[in-house]
Symmetry: C2
């Protein structure tokens, strides 16, 4: 019997996944949480062996949660399940110590298999995403560029971004201009979108 922990901020999806996985005779959902920063504690208390982690969660995202599990509970394996198949996410999830990466587009019946493989010590990674992840390579952005791009995601004007990070507007424009060049975009909004799609943020 494989003991599972589910982490997803949408209660309905979480409950539905629990119902789905509980149908399998060799799987048992022993804990459910809706926040990333509750994963480690719940996993320890419930004696979970595999953690199913969504990326988009309040408190702590699924990738950082996987890293925390790796650090605090070395014997527990993590499987990241997310809506968005961004190549950079795969890389970061694996680097964070996750044993698998699955998108929510995959057929439901494959999920139980993925859990079993992860439990057996194998790695499960969506093949398409793995290929893209290799092609795109790691992020070429510097720390500042990444930071400023995240603030540019919502289309904020340069002045607002500059005030938020306590920099001059000229400096912000220079960093964003560099990011625009590296992403092949022509506006900071477009650059921010591209960077996010590739998981560079």
């Amino acid at each position: 019997m494989i003991r599972l922990l589910l982490a997803d901020d949408q209660a309905l999806v979480r409950g539905a996944l629990a119902a789905l996985l509980d149908l399998e005779s060799d799987l048992e959902v022993v804990a459910q949480v809706g926040r990333g920063d509750e994963v480690v504690e719940a996993a320890r208390a419930s004696g979970a062996e595999v953690c199913l982690l969504d990326i988009e969660m309040p408190g702590l995202n699924g990738i950082d949660a996987a890293a925390a599990v790796r650090r605090e509970l070395p014997g527990v394996r993590s499987l990241v399940v997310t809506t968005f198949g961004r190549p950079g996410y795969v890389r970061r999830a694996i680097e964070a110590g996750a044993s698998g990466f699955v998108v929510k587009d995959t057929p439901a019946r494959q999920l139980a298999d993925a859990v079993r493989r992860v439990h057996a010590g194998l790695r499960v990674i969506d093949p398409d995403l793995a290929a893209e992840s290799l092609i795109d390579g790691p992020s070429p952005l510097t720390g500042r560029e990444r930071e400023l791009l995240t603030y540019a995601l919502d289309g904020s004007p340069v002045s607002a971004i500059a005030a938020r990070v306590h920099l001059s507007e000229g400096t912000v424009r220079n960093h964003l201009s560099a990011a625009i060049g590296k992403t092949g975009a022509s506006t900071r909004s477009e650059a921010a979108r591209i960077a996010q799609e590739r998981g560079w943020l």
Copy 2:
């Protein structure tokens, strides 16, 4: 026995919801689709009585799908289930003929109850969203403003938007300026975000 149709573009979520609802002794999932434009046909073929529709779907969104069901199969009721609780969505879903509106944050056990109520002819609407929907009022945007805002969502420059809709740049700027005023924003990106949050797009 209530016959259900599930429509959600994420196969994993769709399958999980099916597993969850099939646990109820009086519910039976008789059809599953991943696209909005397959809903009517699948509902007719399967003899579904209630359609559970996600909003974000390829082909046709859940609200338009609810309208299509209303038109083509008057006896079938729709329950819209979505990730984002945007007030405008509720209004539009109800106007489109949906009998209920539930967000994916609600506890899993309440979903089956919502389905039963909808099947019984009652309306099921998330109370918080219903209140917000009344406060915000309907969209003040004109058709063009709405259209141009959707193109402005990703931060596209005015020139690109103008080319896309075959208008002069000046006209596009005027419409967007009006939208900026109505949303209380100061850039078109911000206006687009605000409008989307309120379900005006």
